[in-house]
């Protein structure tokens, strides 16, 4: 039981001070310390061009590691590339499929490379709902079908870790929901750890349990979704206008109130605290003309973290 718990808690991806430059003097990635634990659905977030794909490409050995170390499944990537890739499925940017081949043939290309059985091939096609595409070649597939086939390809080796780079790109809302439920099911049934990159927080917010936010090649935040929510609460502010803002500031000083030119700003964590602030002011004979709680959304936190 303890062993199982330890296994569940073990780190599956660990990067240490990972740096990458496409050109001299242009730091694409700087000191990326990524940590993904077994069983996580890790949302790797950041705006376009922030370094998500570069990080994933380094993790998969598609780019030359310039500085820092990468450890996947407890092994160093540079020295155990093949061993690691046997247990890792990936979908990087556009679907990497052979358009002149059928869905089955595309999987057949990699089946023996991954040492997968024929029954596994049929199984993954069934999981993504492409088991009845027959002789239709991939060039006749819709983008959603291609994305699902790429996912089937990533699932072929029964991976312990699945890296998906912007998997919802080009999918319609129904497709996005379908993918979300598929990821949830795969985590439950196959126990796969996911690393999912996206530039839209709301897209992955519903499925991830851990988040890493990258901006201009630097990690701005890394932690659980609850911790991000806590940060959101810490950054919510109530704007006040009273009959005497200076006296009100003195009353609310212990709550880190700040006096601005037009109003008084006080951070709050929950809506009950706003009521308490109001009561404190009224109890001190201050008239409250305006009380405007401004709750930060995860989206605004994300925007704040990904802004200069």
């Amino acid at each position: 039981m303890l062993l199982k718990k330890q296994k569940m808690n073990s780190t599956i991806i660990r990067t240490d001070r990972l740096c990458y430059d496409y050109a001299k003097g242009v730091n694409t990635l700087t000191n990326i310390n990524l940590q993904v634990n077994r069983g996580d659905i890790y949302g790797f977030l950041g705006p376009n061009g922030s370094g998500k794909t570069t990080t994933l490409s380094l993790l998969l050995g598609l780019l030359k590691n310039q500085r820092g170390t990468i450890e996947i499944l407890g092994k160093d990537m540079q020295h155990h590339r093949q061993e690691i890739l046997c247990k890792v499925g990936s979908l990087i940017e556009n679907p990497s499929l052979y358009n002149h081949l059928t869905a089955k043939e595309n999987l057949e290309v990699y089946r023996e490379v991954y040492g997968a059985s024929k029954s596994r091939l049929h199984e993954v096609l069934k999981i993504v709902g492409l088991n009845e595409t027959g002789k239709k070649t991939v060039k006749q597939f819709s983008l959603g079908m291609r994305q699902r086939l790429s996912l089937a390809l990533a699932l072929l080796p029964k991976p312990e870790l699945l890296m998906l780079d912007e998997p919802t790109n080009g999918l319609d809302p129904a497709g996005i929901m379908e993918l979300r439920s598929l990821i949830g099911r795969l985590r439950e049934i196959e126990g796969i750890t996911f690393l999912i990159s996206s530039h839209i927080l709301s897209e992955v917010e519903k499925i991830v349990n851990r988040v890493g936010i990258i901006y201009k090649g630097r990690m701005r935040f890394q932690g659980s979704l609850e911790e991000l929510h806590r940060l959101q609460q810490q950054q919510s502010l109530v704007h006040l206008d009273t009959s005497d803002n200076l006296r009100a500031w003195a009353v609310l000083k212990q709550l880190q109130a700040e006096l601005t030119e037009h109003d008084l700003v006080v951070p709050y964590t929950d809506i009950q605290q706003v009521a308490a602030i109001n009561k404190m002011l009224v109890d001190n004979d201050l008239d409250v003309y305006n009380l405007h709680p401004h709750k930060q959304t995860l989206e605004t936190i994300f925007m704040n973290l990904t802004n200069d």
Binding site: S57, L60, H79, S90, N94, L97, Y98, H100, Y110
Partner: protein
């Protein structure tokens, strides 16, 4: 993963591609032209006509068609990955870089062998057609099949250098025009060096080596040219391999040196950085 798995993977990729049409059409050109433009057999030596028919055709085939086949087939094979954005999937699969390259190269070699077989089949059909129309015995040249087999094998041997050079060019350029244009220019240097510049060592130029297998002047040094072609092949493959690997892996990792651990706390807790 085993090399056979990589090889199987590469063969599956060429299904429904135009490479088979390239083979069928390109191998057809020389026999087709020869059927309409062949020499009359010498009297009392029916096989002579066939010999001439075959040797004339094979010279053009070995010097022009085989090198261009390698240039086009290599480009076509690499473009399968480029056009489908599939390189990253290949490289993210558990295959060694050497297996990936060797499997692709092996497919090209097998295709070249098929190209040679199809060419010979067309030549036999061409001779048979002439025999039927003119009542000659061109097909008698087939009696000397060990000699022809040797000639075919020498053609393959003499083009090893060209095949690897074409493979390397196709591998390093994403644009399909570049390897074809460079390949054509490199081929053109051969006749230019020999006929225009009268360069004394033109026979050692990689694209001229197929020319040496049928020209009497080079008869004594044929083994040398075969070895030279293979030497070129080894050198070009070495360059292609190291270039391919070093784009994706630091040199130190190739020698499996242990990288000194960079000490430092790995912060696992949440933080705004």
């Amino acid at each position: 993963m085993t090399f056979t798995a990589s090889l199987r993977s590469e063969f599956l990729k060429i299904k429904r591609t135009s490479v088979i049409y390239l083979i069928l059409i390109a191998a057809f050109v020389v026999p087709f032209v020869l059927v309409f433009d062949h020499d009359i057999p010498a009297p009392n030596n029916p096989a002579n006509g066939g010999d001439h028919f075959y040797s004339n055709g094979f010279k053009v085939f070995a010097f022009l068609f085989i090198p261009f086949f390698f240039i086009l087939a290599s480009t076509l094979l690499m473009q399968i990955e480029v056009r489908n954005h599939a390189w990253k999937q290949v490289l993210a699969s558990p295959q060694s870089f050497l297996h990936i390259l060797l499997a692709k190269f092996a497919v090209i070699q097998v295709l070249a062998l098929v190209f040679l077989i199809v060419f010979n089949a067309y030549m036999v059909m061409g001779c048979a057609l002439i025999d039927v129309i003119y009542g000659v015995d061109f097909l008698a040249y087939l009696d000397r099949w060990p000699e022809l087999l040797k000639l075919n094998l020498m053609a393959l041997g003499s083009t090893v250098g060209i095949s690897v050079l074409s493979f390397w060019l196709a591998l390093r350029y994403k644009n399909f025009i570049a390897p074809i244009a460079i390949g054509f220019l490199l081929w053109l240097i051969g006749p230019t060096a020999a006929l225009e510049l009268k360069w004394p060592h033109f026979d050692k130029y990689v694209f001229v080596l197929p020319f040496t297998i049928m020209v009497e002047r080079f008869e004594d040094k044929r083994m040398f040219y075969q070895l030279l072609s293979m030497g070129y092949g080894v050198v070009f493959f070495g360059i292609a391999y190291f270039e391919f690997v070093l784009q994706r892996m630091p040199l130190r990792a190739l020698w499996r040196k242990k990288i000194k651990d960079i000490s430092g706390d790995h912060q696992s807790s949440s933080r705004v950085i």
